[in-house]
């Protein structure tokens, strides 16, 4: 009969927890039944004994009836499971050593994966706090000459939006695939409220439909109006983020209507965004949102609203039913129109790239690298887990061998094979779940190294969501079952008689093909993980020691932007000159200078259209972008950069003198291949400058590439307001930072300083410096270390187990005169053969895999001999050590004890 399944389930669940009461109730009912039946039987002429007997027969057995009734009223599978879990926990507690090692081993593997998934979750899975975030796409452009995905210029964005709303003929499909398009640019500002010190903060400057496209409602006040963000400089308004409102402005409920200053310009607060909303870029900590048309009022050295100045990423909302592929096609039709109309302000052969918002992290510019890097790391993480599983499976084999008699007894008294397997699987799952709890806790508490350059908006404090916990939970369940499956199948297949007749520690010991295979696999996998780790470490070391062309020792950086404080160029020059004078007067100073970009600045200014003077317009368009750094004349010397040919800047290269630049070798090769560049003239977007010198600064703004074209211009000739002081001290620079800050604040107490750090820290922390490799090396190194540890433990376990099982055999052999050395060799040799097989397999696989990996890394060739040799010897040494301890025990076995132990 059909019944309501949920209601039934709940009743049955309740029945489990009220079992004693229900049992007593049914016992009474049955007693009454039997009594009544017996009475009836006596009435029909039976003797009392016969009557009782017949009553029981008619019932079909008291115990059977109870069981039937219990099964019907409760959830037998759940009750069995609970019983198995309790049994497993009891039996695990009875062997604390085994349990600790197994939980710890699995916890290592699960922690690595839980931590990895936490990172991947933020990168790919957590939804942006917005309405229907899975329908949001980010649009960038990519040309063949540049490795990064670049934004569009604001007039391009205006064209796209015109095509979408007013001019469908130009790009007919655009309106079909996008319900709306908006654009934003991350902008750093100096934020000040009357009576408070100025702070450096990050905002999004955006089009008026920023919030409506994201589908947000204000927490206080309002968002942008449709009429705003149309006319340049017309709408000095700001919407604050909830965090900025709560932390910088004391959660003031009267904030709407108040005025604050951005870069010294008054802006009216019109609203506060809801809590948890951090804008269109996932996970960035912003302070507010400003109309993009206000850019000319903010510090805007590059004239960001001009055609050709690539500044704004586009965000679109897909129309119902539209796909990313359709959006990409439509966007490229539109972009082709825009480029055709403005050939001089477009990148050559550029294409629009449309990606889902969740695929645009950590930033649209570098999002296309994320899947590759994460895939490589995920393979390593999974391999570590595989090693951990193999290890614990091996332990379980050993444990179930020791429990053979228990299983034999249980199956002799009627336990079915299925029940034995279920019990063992429950045991391994309990182990894995305990390990999963450890892993989940560790993934929340372990500090993760993250790049925190001060020229991006910092990471928002996101905490974590439910996904990593679900992932870890499911992973633990799967791991538990996978780990226990082989040992359980093997153990449950034991013939009870054979095992009971056998006296436990059998004389010869059976062969264990599964365990041997596990050791081979374990060694092979550790080998692969170690080689991956070694490659990551080696490329880190390679980069850390490769010549950069500049020196970091005893040098300190401090950055500040005068433009955001509304200094005029004259005031700025005066400030910079005074600052240098005072810095150079500090005690213990070797030299001090200024540059627009310290080495490995994530936001080095790049210019297109840098060619040899007289090159065609076409050549200027197709020229790759070149980094340009403007330096005070002592800067190259302060950074320890050697001028290899020509001369350094001098006091003569002042404002009135002809424009001069110093190029690096990469740019010299690019512009004047095979010639001496000194004295040649270079056109920089139409302005001509003379090359006066060549420096070797090929890795000035990217450690990984030694072919990054760059030129230095003279700051005295080309004023820039956003500069960094570089201070070179005679002694170690541990404490010079505060002195620099004091000098700056003596000149302007209200000027925010950022990025006060030693140049060594700058190199380590910069996303273009060692940071990514450092993270990679730390993660891969930890994985490799764990894999090696686990493999060692696995081999140790195998040999130790073999020794235990063969104690009697060894005892007999020693008693018969076998040399102890021969015994030891015999015990260790079998395992070493397995290790060698595993090593060969692992090396073969990693040779093939390293081909794919070497593209990601710097300074590591495919099939690096040092790495292979190093890893092979490391694994062998670990294996030897792991064999040595138990083998030594075998050697020292006292024959008398061994034989008596039976």
């Amino acid at each position: 009969m059909l019944m309501n399944p949920i209601r039934t389930f709940l009743t049955r669940l309740r029945a489990i927890f009220t079992k004693p009461a229900l049992d007593a109730d049914f016992d009474a009912e049955l007693a009454q039944h039997l009594e009544a039946a017996t009475a009836d039987n006596i009435r029909s002429g039976m003797t009392p004994d016969e009557a009782r007997r017949q009553a029981r027969i008619a019932l079909g057995g008291v115990d059977q009836t109870k069981e039937l009734q219990r099964d019907a009223r409760g959830l037998p599978w759940l009750e069995n499971l609970v019983r198995d879990v309790r049994f497993a926990i009891r039996s695990l507690i009875k062997s604390p050593g085994f349990t600790t090692v197994a939980v710890f081993t699995l916890a290592l593997g699960l922690t690595v994966n839980a931590v990895f998934f936490t990172i991947a979750n933020d990168l790919f899975f957590r939804p942006l706090p917005a309405y229907a975030p899975d329908r949001l796409v980010v649009v960038a452009q990519k040309g063949p000459a540049i490795n990064f995905q670049l934004p569009f210029s604001y007039p391009d964005v205006e064209d796209f939006r015109r095509f979408l709303k007013a001019d469908p003929a130009a790009a007919p499909d655009l309106a079909r695939v996008f319900s709306d398009l908006m654009a934003y640019k991350e902008q750093v500002v100096h934020l000040s409220l009357a009576g408070k010190s100025t702070e450096r903060a990050f905002v999004h400057v955006a089009t008026e439909n920023y919030f409506s496209l994201l589908g947000m409602q204000p927490f206080l006040g309002r968002f942008f109006l449709p009429t705003e963000c149309r006319v340049a400089s017309a709408d000095p308004i700001i919407v604050l983020t909830y965090d900025a409102w709560a932390h910088r402005f004391g959660a003031n409920p009267e904030i709407v209507g108040q005025t604050l200053k951005l870069d010294g310009v008054p802006f009216t607060v019109v609203g506060v965004a809801p809590e948890g909303f951090f804008g269109a870029a996932f996970g960035r900590a912003l302070s507010g949102f400003v109309p993009i048309t206000m850019l000319p009022k903010l510090s805007d050295p590059y004239d960001a609203l001009k055609r050709g100045v690539l500044c704004a990423y586009v965000v679109g909302r897909l129309a119902p039913g539209a796909t990313v592929a359709q959006a990409s096609a439509a966007m490229n039709v539109a972009f082709a129109q825009v480029m055709k109309a403005n050939p001089d302000q477009s990148l050559k052969d550029s294409r629009a790239v449309v990606m889902l918002e969740s695929n645009s992290r950590p930033g649209p510019g570098i999002a296309h690298f994320a899947p590759v890097i994460m895939a490589a790391l995920s393979v390593l993480s999974l391999l570590v887990l595989v090693v951990a599983i193999a290890n614990v499976a091996n332990l379980l084999f050993a444990r179930s061998s020791a429990r053979e008699r228990e299983f034999a007894i249980r199956s002799a008294v009627g336990a079915r094979r299925f029940q034995l397997i279920r019990g063992l699987l429950v045991e391994s799952t309990v182990l894995a779940l305990a390990a999963g709890v450890v892993g989940a806790i560790a993934s929340v508490w372990l500090p993760l190294p993250t790049p925190s350059p001060s020229d991006f908006a910092p990471d928002a404090h996101l905490g974590t969501d439910w996904r990593p916990f679900v992932f870890t939970g499911i992973a633990a369940l799967v791991v538990g079952i996978v780990t226990g499956l082989l040992p359980a199948l093997k153990a449950s297949g034991i013939a009870p008689l054979a095992s009971l007749n056998n006296s436990g520690n059998s004389g010869t010991g059976r062969r264990h093909p599964w365990r041997s295979l596990l050791v081979v696999g374990q060694v092979a996998v550790s080998c692969i993980v170690l080689i991956g780790a070694a490659m990551a470490l080696r490329s880190f070391v390679f980069l850390a020691h490769s010549p950069t062309g500049f020196k970091v020792e005893n040098r300190t950086v401090a950055s500040f932007d005068l433009g955001m404080q509304n200094y005029s160029p004259e005031q700025g020059r005066r400030f910079q000159a005074q600052l240098l004078e005072r810095l150079r007067a500090l005690p213990g100073i070797e030299s001090a200078s200024l540059t627009t970009s310290p080495p490995l600045d994530a936001f080095v200014n790049r210019k297109g259209g840098v060619t040899a003077a007289g090159a065609s317009k076409e050549a200027a368009r197709s020229a790759p972008t070149v980094a340009c750094v403007y330096v005070e004349r002592e800067c190259l010397a302060t950074l320890g950069m050697r001028v290899e040919a020509g001369r350094d800047f001098t006091a003569h290269d002042g404002p009135g003198a002809p424009f001069v630049i110093v190029v690096n070798r990469a740019l010299a090769r690019q512009l004047f291949p095979g010639q001496d560049p000194i004295g040649h003239r270079v056109s920089v977007q139409g302005n001509v400058a003379e090359v006066i010198g060549v420096v070797g600064a090929d890795r000035f703004y990217s450690l990984t590439s030694d072919n990054s074209p760059l030129f230095f211009g003279a700051l005295e000739q080309d004023y820039h307001s956003n500069v960094s002081a570089i201070v070179w001290t005679k002694e170690s620079t541990g404490s010079i930072g505060p002195d620099i800050a004091k000098v700056v604040h003596d000149l302007d107490p209200d000027l925010p300083i950022y990025r006060i750090q030693t140049l060594a820290e700058q190199v380590e922390k910069s996303p273009l410096g060692l940071m990514p490799f450092r993270i990679g090396a730390v993660v891969a190194g930890a994985q490799g270390g764990i894999a090696l540890l686990l493999a060692g433990a696995g081999i140790f376990g195998l040999v130790a187990f073999a020794v235990t099982r063969r104690t009697r055999e060894i005892g007999i052999r020693v008693a018969l005169g076998a040399s102890r050395f021969a015994v030891m060799r015999d015990v260790a040799m079998g395992s070493l053969v397995l290790v060698l097989i595993g090593l060969a397999v692992g090396l073969a696989i990693s040779l093939a895999a390293s081909r794919a990996l070497s593209g990601l890394l710097a300074g590591v060739g495919h099939g690096d001999g040092l790495i292979i040799g190093g890893v092979a010897s490391l694994v062998l040494l670990t294996a030897l050590a792991a064999c040595w301890l138990p083998a030594r025990r075998a050697m020292l076995i006292n024959p008398v004890d061994a034989l008596r132990a039976e």
């Binding site: 019944m3 309501n4 039944h33 009544a36 009836t65 039937l68």
Partner: protein, 117 residues
């Protein structure tokens, strides 16, 4: 009359219990078992114990209620009685069973050679 007793079809026991309670009023487990055996003229193979599994199922479905009471000979016994929900269920299941029985009957008694409709 067949010499062998009939096995109870799966699920029919629940129906028989409901019908018994509907026609006889509140009864205890043994009473229900005896009643089914008597009406079935002992032709059914019934383990009286299986009645109790059926009673639990019907209770969980809300088709019957149970209550401890006093039996004819002044003993405590657990009495079951059919609920309104159970009567509705019984009607539906009875109709269903009769339709089924009719169909089986027709097929078993169809004259040879007649074309299937």
């Amino acid at each position: 009359m067949p010499t062998e007793k009939l096995d109870l079809l799966q699920g029919t026991l629940d129906l028989l219990v409901l019908q018994t309670l509907a026609s006889m009023g509140p009864m205890h487990g043994y009473g229900i078992a005896r009643r089914i055996e008597q009406v079935g003229a002992d032709a059914l193979m019934l383990n009286q114990g299986t009645i109790y599994a059926a009673l639990v199922r019907l209770q969980q479905g809300g088709f019957i209620g149970a209550e401890w009471g006093t039996s004819d000979n002044n003993r405590k016994a657990k009495y079951y009685q059919i609920t309104a929900r159970g009567r509705k269920r019984l009607g539906a299941e009875t109709a269903n069973w009769q339709r089924m029985a009719g169909v089986v009957q027709r097929i078993l008694t169809a004259p040879a050679g007649e074309a299937a409709p």
